[in-house]
Every structure is written in C-alpha cells, then in structure tokens.
Amino acid sequence: MSDETPGAPQPEKKYRKTPPATPAVQAWLDGDQSRDELGTADEQETAELWARINNEAASLRTRHTPIHVQSRIMSSLPDVPVVNEPLAEPAKKMNPATTVIAAIVILAIGGLIGFMLVR
C-alpha cells in the first residue's frame, strides 16, 4: 500500500529530460566551437551531460592491452607469414561472352516491351 498522502507534493524526479543536442551543441562536441558560444540554458544543460559522458569515454582511452595478450599473440603465430588465399573475396568477373549474351537478352526484352507498348 502506498503511504503517500493524496495531494501532497510529489517527490522530485531524480532526472528530468535533458534537452536534445542542438546544432550548436553538436558543433561544440565536434570541436568546432567553444562551450562559451552555447547561448541558452538548455544548451548548457545538454553540454553538461555530454561533458560527463565525454569524461567517462575519455577514461576508456587510457586502457592498454593486457600484457599477456601480446605474448599470447606472438606464441600463436604460424611459422609462415604469407598464405595464398586472398584476405577478401576477389570481385567476380563476368565472362565477355556472358556479358554479350546478357546485353542481347536485355535489348530483346526491352524491344519486346517497346513493341507491346506501341501496339
């Protein structure tokens, strides 16, 4: 059962919606302008949220590869560096004869449609 008194003021919500990032806030986040140039209180509020997010994101920038990983990679390298398989699938090339036949078929279909439309 709720122990709230009817009519009593509701407790303030922990969070209120932060205004969406305006083009000016986006420009600040892109490094194109300074925070001082954000004119409105809403923009400053959004900037405050993003300053916290940036601060957190920047802390991840200091992460380093765990030391054991580099030695693990080295010990798992095969003996031979180069294999013959290409890294990416080569683009499939169409046989010239197939290209000609395909062009003829497309032209024929086009001609047929044109003929039917004219009739």
Binding site: D32, R35, E56, S59, T65, Q70, R72, P81
Partner: protein
C-alpha cells in the same frame, strides 16, 4: 573558459608508415620476431576499438589475437598504411562478432584501471554513468556505435576516421550526430 569537447589522436607519420614497411619486409623475409614490433606499436588503439565495440575485455583480446594472426598470414597483401589495413581487419571482426552474438549485457568487467576520483560518491556516480553508457552503446546500431566509439572513446579526428573507414567526413559527422541523439534518447529512456 573556452573548452572544446573533443581531443584527437594523430595518424602515424609518413616516417612511421615507412618504418612499418621496413618491418613488414623483414617479417616477409623470415623474421617472425619483427612482427612483435608491429603488435607492440598498434595493439593499444586496436584493443580499445575492440573493447569499445564489444564491451568485453575477453572478447576484445580474442578479436585482437585473431586479427593479428590474420594480418600476419596475409602480410604480403598490405598496400598502403599497415595501421589502416590492420584496423579494418579488427573493425570487421568486431562487426562480425556483433552480428553473430545475441547481446544480453555488455560490461567493461575487470576494470582495474586506477581512478582519479577520490570520494565514494563520485566513484558511485561514475560507475553508474559507465554502466548506463555501456547499456546505451550496446543498443546502438553497429555503424553508429562504431562512429561514436572512434570519435568519443578513441578520440580520433573525422579526417582520420574517414581514412580508416574509407568514407567521407560528412557521412561520418552525420553518423556521430545520430549516435549522440540516439545515445541521449536511450539514456533518457532509462531514466524516464
């Protein structure tokens, strides 16, 4: 105070790219150990990318290992910058993983990095924000997530991102802007 919101990570210099090419030549000539120099040089940014994309240190390690092995096996096919080439291998591996896995929860677990914050309240706030960010990031479509991670977590410039992802600065700006909007909406949704 005139602060801007982002920092950037410079792309390797021409000298660095030349040095990479020298190392590749040595590896192809049979010096397996020389490959370790490339691993040491590039594993950190690649690891961070994989961590940002997958949210799991264990998965990031596995992706890094598989990607370097693949790079080693195909080293003779490198054209242009090695760092960009190997980045694409890692980025594709991350996308494949995201496609294949059913995500239920992501976590930057085993986070034993020292914190610069002192009070328990600040630490709690920060942990909460980190968890929320992980949740929101995990819900972003992979292309938006990739753009956001590269810009905000890795601190890359749009120009560098465009070079690595082989697309335009304008397209990437749009992706990052959309990612920010989506991320903010997801965070609001959580707290609404």
């Amino acid at each position: 105070m005139t602060t801007t919101a982002t920092t950037t990570t410079a792309a390797p210099s021409v000298q660095q790219a030349d040095a990479d090419q020298e190392i590749i030549t040595r590896v192809l000539a049979g010096s397996k150990d020389a490959f370790g120099i490339l691993i040491q040089r590039y594993s950190d940014p690649l690891y961070r990318h994989a961590l940002g994309m997958t949210g799991s240190p264990d998965v990031a390690e596995d992706i890094l290992q598989a990607s370097f092995i693949k790079a080693y096996q195909h080293l003779g096919e490198v054209r242009g910058r090695f760092d960009a080439w190997v980045f694409r291998i890692v980025a594709n591996a991350c996308k494949d993983w995201l496609k294949n896995i059913r995500r239920t929860h992501v976590s930057y677990e085993e986070d034993d990095q020292p914190s610069s914050l002192s009070t328990p309240e600040e630490e709690m706030d920060r942990n909460e924000l980190r968890t929320d960010l992980e949740y929101a990031l995990s819900r972003l479509p992979e292309s938006l997530r990739e753009a956001f991670v590269m810009k905000h977590v890795e601190g890359r410039s749009y120009e560098e991102m465009a070079e690595l992802l082989e697309t335009t600065v304008g397209a990437l700006k749009m992706r990052v802007h959309r990612a920010r909007e989506a991320l903010q909406a997801l965070l609001e949704e959580k707290y609404a």
